[in-house]
């Protein structure tokens, strides 16, 4: 009982000193809970959406995907004949059955030819307006579409683009461009996270999307009263046989959910990973706080021991304080986490993903996980300082304690740290020598962990050296104030080491990723320069195929020397070893592709692969299946007939662009696949005549103005785009790492604040003998800057080592060029100095405000 009472009193007596540790726990827990709430909310939103939009039973063509995805390489969705609807209606337990037609292989543009598609990556869907849609949507203005010239728009999209009744919009599909006027608006009764949806009447939808009537993409079946979905499914299957895909509402919903969960899980675990980094950094802060509190209370603890407290009681009293800290921080963290989730939802809203707070989902596991994690981490982190407190001898009560400036970094620590760092360095070296990717990543992971722990362990020893160097370079010129700052940073290397290490972790990750990112850009640029021989690349950033109309438009541009079409389809391969590989990609391109991209081969000439009835295979495929030049492979095209193609080139796997692709010519493909089943182009390569480049570029842009889904890029644009994309990704990651860095900065503030308290008397003395407030504040700021720079130096060094090793590993995957982004690295280093200045603001201000006399009188 008394243990608890003393702990409580100590905790509340030092609430100021505990505050920063509590904030660290709070932030980490909040991030974890925020992530969980946010991803759960997204799941709920999609669950509701899928549940609402699926009919009791759905019938679709055999080759449609489980989730009802409606794209295919021909740009037209797979369909079933209208006669099936009648058969379904005849099945027992069917109340109604209705054929629908929809596709997401479309682009919709307004009268100015600006795209109405979402920018968030959500799909654009054009479909027929059916009973099932009328069930989940409400017409909020105008009327449902009727006739070839009417179209209805979902209310969110209409709002976003300020569309009015009667406005003309056009649907661009594989069959061409179709214009219609807006007849009405319909709103979802559940939250629609962002898809843009357009409705036509059934006949218009059929003509627009596949070019003929009498076919549907699926049939929505409603059960009669008392018939369950599985029973209905059975009956429908009985009526239709096995030629079609028949799914219950739940199966469709689950398939959709499964498709999304991959993406959601990646996001969730990535964010939890960053929360983990923040926790790791928070541990340093908590260890430091408790170590300093224990050190400051040495005399008090000695007294407790002298009057009979057992070692265990002292130990426990510190742990109970940690427990209190953990509970307070975590509970606040859970609350803040919900706030973060709502904030994230708002952010998503601004980039076009609509989420409603009505769907906000806080599972009971979220607060439990958050609080458990926060409390356990805090108590574990306080364990070492608590043990140290237990070891305080009763004699300490009698000694003039002051602040023990012991901190002789042990020899054990040095040996252990150096061994760990050494082993880590060896692992990193092994990474660069590794033969395979799996082996290499194992070495890399081991190396990263070992060097990180090694640096943390050896940190206090490095602190002495590094701070001295930094001091000599930066502080000495600033006179005695600088020298005192240096000495203060050095007086407790363990503390400086731990504070710097916290900052080191975040910055190491920043440095590592910036090295990898900039190496990616450099490698890709290098590869582009070496292999790409074309002027323009035309493709859709949202994954839309290139419609024949658009291809024609591109080919009509004057001044073009050649335009290469490039498409990908699937086929079943039967190799000479007798094996059949189902649904394997085959790339069909015009022979000019050999000039556009100089694909490296290990045997044969790539240009020969485009000869009639010829193909190329990749190196690994050739090895696995005993394929040599001249071997014949039976290629059974998915939408056509079987061909026997002769292998005339084997491509190297040591490439970046199109790695593993197997080529044949467009003409060969056309021979075996009927014209209406020909897959659409994925990308076009255009090369202009000598000297016509600028004109051609302008003309291409102008020609594709009506097709906003496609982008023309010359090589400069392409490289810039690559750089921008990687830059954006890095910025996102830096943003998430900012959390860890904020916690680390709190750690610096905490260390300084507690140091100032510890040195009250010293500060009083210095002020008495003539140190001005400004000098005092400057001294504290400089100490802070030195600690921050120490952390930055270690972190950047470590991170660059990791990054370089990762590059060596990824060299196998085409990351051939190591590029160290010096401006970023130097920027981070200089930025750290400012972080140090910032962290010292409050502690310096408080030190300056101290009353000289009371400071001197402090015990």
């Amino acid at each position: 009982m008394t243990v608890l009472k003393t702990s409580m009193r100590n905790f509340f007596a030092h609430k100021g000193r505990m505050a920063l540790s509590a904030v660290a726990v709070l932030l980490s827990v909040a991030f974890v809970c925020g992530t969980l709430v946010f991803t759960d909310t997204m799941n709920t939103t999609f669950d509701k959406l899928f549940a609402a939009t699926s009919s009791d039973v759905t019938v679709s063509p055999k080759d449609a995907s489980d989730s009802g995805e409606t794209t295919s390489d021909t740009g037209r969705p797979p369909v079933l004949p209208a006669s099936v609807v009648g058969k379904v209606r005849g099945a027992e337990g069917v109340k109604s059955a209705e054929g629908t037609m929809f596709s997401s292989s479309v682009t919709v543009v307004d009268a100015d030819k600006d795209s109405l598609s979402p920018t968030s990556g959500a799909p654009t869907i054009v479909g027929s307006w059916n009973g099932n849609d009328a069930r989940t949507m409400k017409i909020t203005g105008g009327a449902a579409p009727k006739g070839a010239d009417q179209i209805m728009v979902d209310a969110d999209t209409a709002d976003k683009h300020h569309l009015k009744l009667g406005d003309e919009i056009s649907v661009i599909s594989a069959t061409g461009t179709h214009s219609a006027r807006i007849s009405g608006f319909a709103a979802f009764t559940v939250t629609n996270p962002g898809a843009a949806i357009f409705y036509l009447d059934t006949a218009t939808a059929q003509k627009t999307l596949v070019g003929r009537t009498g076919v549907f993409t699926s049939i929505n079946v409603t059960a009669a009263a008392g018939v369950t979905d599985p029973a209905l499914k059975k009956n429908v299957l009985g009526a239709l046989g096995t030629g079609y895909k028949v799914q219950t509402a739940k199966e469709v919903s689950d398939a959709n959910q499964k498709e999304l969960s991959g993406f959601l899980d990646v996001m969730k675990y990535a964010m939890l990973g960053f929360a983990g980094v923040a926790f790791l950094v928070g541990i340093f802060l908590i260890i430091n706080t408790f170590s300093m509190l224990v050190a400051q209370r040495t005399r008090e603890i000695g007294l407790m021991r002298a009057i009979g407290s057992s070692r265990r009681q002292v130990n426990r009293s510190v742990l109970v304080e940690a427990l209190l800290l953990g509970v307070v921080g975590s509970v606040l963290g859970v609350a803040a986490g919900v706030g973060i989730a709502v904030g994230l939802m708002k952010v998503m809203g601004s980039v076009g993903m609509k989420l409603s707070t009505d769907d906000l989902t806080v599972a009971w596991t979220t607060p439990v996980a958050g609080i458990a994690l926060g409390v356990i981490v805090t108590v574990l982190a306080a364990y070492l300082p608590a043990r140290r407190a237990g070891k305080v001898s009763p004699m300490a009560a009698l000694r003039d304690a002051g602040a023990p400036a012991d901190a002789r970094a042990g020899r054990v620590r040095a040996v252990l740290g150096i061994l760990l760092t050494g082993a880590g360095a060896v692992s990193l070296y092994a990474t660069s020598q590794a033969g395979g990717a799996t082996e290499g990543s194992a070495w890399l992971g081991l190396g990263v962990v070992l060097t990180l722990i090694g640096f943390v362990v050896v940190g206090p020893l490095l602190a002495s050296g590094v701070v001295r160097v930094l001091g000599t370079v930066l502080l000495r010129p600033l006179g005695s104030v600088g020298r005192m700052a240096e000495r203060n940073a050095l007086r407790n290397p363990r503390r400086t080491g731990a504070t710097g290490a916290a900052l080191m972790i975040g910055l190491a990750l920043v440095a590592c990723l910036s090295v990898v990112g900039s190496s990616m850009v450099a490698s890709a640029t290098d590869q582009l320069d070496k292999t790409v021989g074309t002027d323009f690349i035309i493709q859709s950033d949202s994954g839309q195929l290139i419609t024949p109309e658009a291809v024609k438009a591109v080919k009509s541009v004057p001044g073009m020397e050649r335009v290469t079409e490039y498409r990908v389809t699937e086929a079943d391969y039967t190799t000479p070893d007798g094996k059949t590989l189902k649904d394997t990609d085959i790339t069909a391109a015009d022979p000019t592709y050999a000039e556009d991209v100089r694909t490296k081969t290990v045997a044969g000439d790539i240009a020969d692969a485009y000869k009639p009835d010829s193909m190329s295979v990749n190196e690994k495929f050739a090895e696995d299946h005993g394929v040599r030049l001249g071997s014949k492979i039976k290629v059974d095209f998915k939408d056509g007939s079987a061909a026997r193609l002769t292998v005339r080139a084997i491509t190297s796997d040591d490439v970046v662009i199109d790695k593993g692709a197997m080529y044949t010519s467009t003409a060969t493909l056309a021979k075996y696949v009927p014209a209406d089943r020909m897959p659409l182009d994925v990308v076009l390569f255009g090369s202009s005549e000598e000297g016509q480049q600028d004109a051609a570029y302008k003309a291409l842009k102008a020609e594709l103005h009506d097709y906003p889904q496609y982008t023309v890029r010359d090589q400069t644009d392409y490289k810039q785009e690559l750089k921008d994309q990687i830059g954006q990704l890095l910025n996102l990651i830096y943003g998430l790492l900012a959390l860890a860095i904020i916690v680390a900065v709190l750690g610096v503030v905490n260390t300084l604040a507690l140091s100032v308290v510890e040195r009250t008397r010293e500060i009083g003395l210095m002020r008495a003998i003539g140190l001005s407030r400004r000098q005092l504040r400057r001294m504290i700021r400089l100490e802070s800057v030195v600690i921050a720079l120490f952390g930055a130096l270690l972190g950047l060094g470590l991170g660059m080592g990791w990054g370089a090793s990762a590059q060596k590993l990824l060299a196998l995957e085409g990351l051939k060029v190591l590029d160290i982004p010096w401006p970023t690295i130097i920027g981070v280093f200089v930025g750290s100095a400012f972080v140090g200045l910032f962290a010292a603001l409050v502690p310096a201000f408080r030190a300056g405000r101290m009353n000289v006399l009371t400071a001197i009188a402090t015990e």
Partner: protein, 236 residues
């Protein structure tokens, strides 16, 4: 005059004290606990402010000076020796001695510094950290620091309070020597009659007033006078 609080709770620590400290002399301020002797010294040294009245250092009026000016004054014209914790643990003896000049950005006068160091007998230990020095040695470093900057006046707040009699005598001897040989002005607060006997003049303070003064005292005289005060205090 120096008062704490106001109205009912107003406590007057110094009550109309009028005192002149003579240049080149060693003055001791004595008095029982709570007599206001430390407060007087703190006010004289510009560490504390007075409620009413004026304090001059040479021609400069220090009452009413802003913190910045006061700090400069302490740095350039005043030296301090405290009872304990006089030295910065991170600096060695020499660095502690030259600290006020370092802070001011002045170069120490090498010759003078050597002389001060020699006087306090620390030449051998200049590279030692405070924790490696005995209590007496630490106080000698503090004296050296106070002397090294050549301040107009040195204030000592029980400078020998934490020392045994031998170490105390040593330190007091150095203070005496610095007055006699270096012409230093020193004001020291103490309640030790032996310490006071090193002074040229002793001021007796009681209840915030100067009640007596003695020139060229001996330890016995001081002790007698103290006993006298104590007795009077008890009977009144």
């Amino acid at each position: 005059m120096k008062a704490y609080g106001s109205g009912e709770t107003r406590v007057v620590a110094l009550d109309h004290v009028d005192v002149d400290i003579a240049r080149g002399q060693f003055t001791a301020i004595m008095g029982p606990s709570g007599s206001g002797k430390s407060t007087l010294m703190h006010c004289l040294a510009g560490l504390d402010t007075v409620t009413e009245g004026q304090i001059h250092l040479d021609e400069t009026e220090i009452t009413g000076l802003k913190d910045k000016k006061l700090t400069q004054l302490r740095r350039d014209r005043i030296g301090f020796i405290f009872q304990a914790f006089n030295l910065l643990p991170t600096l060695n003896a020499l660095e502690n001695i030259t600290l006020p000049m370092d802070i001011a950005g002045r170069k120490p006068d090498k010759e003078w510094l050597d002389r001060v160091v020699a006087t306090v007998g620390l030449a051998e230990r200049l590279k030692h950290r405070p924790t490696q020095l005995s209590g007496g040695q630490q106080q000698r470093v503090a004296v050296a620091r106070a002397l090294a900057a050549r301040p107009e006046i040195i204030f000592g707040d029980e400078p020998t309070g934490n020392l045994d009699s031998r170490a105390g005598a040593e330190v007091l001897g150095f203070l005496r020597t610095s007055v006699d040989e270096l012409g230093q002005t020193i004001v020291m607060v103490t309640h030790d009659p032996v310490a006071a006997s090193y002074a040229d003049r002793v001021l007796y303070l009681a209840d915030g007033r100067i009640v007596d003064e003695m020139r060229h005292p001996t330890a016995e005289q001081v002790l007698d006078r103290m006993k006298d005060f104590d007795a009077r205090g008890r009977t009144s």
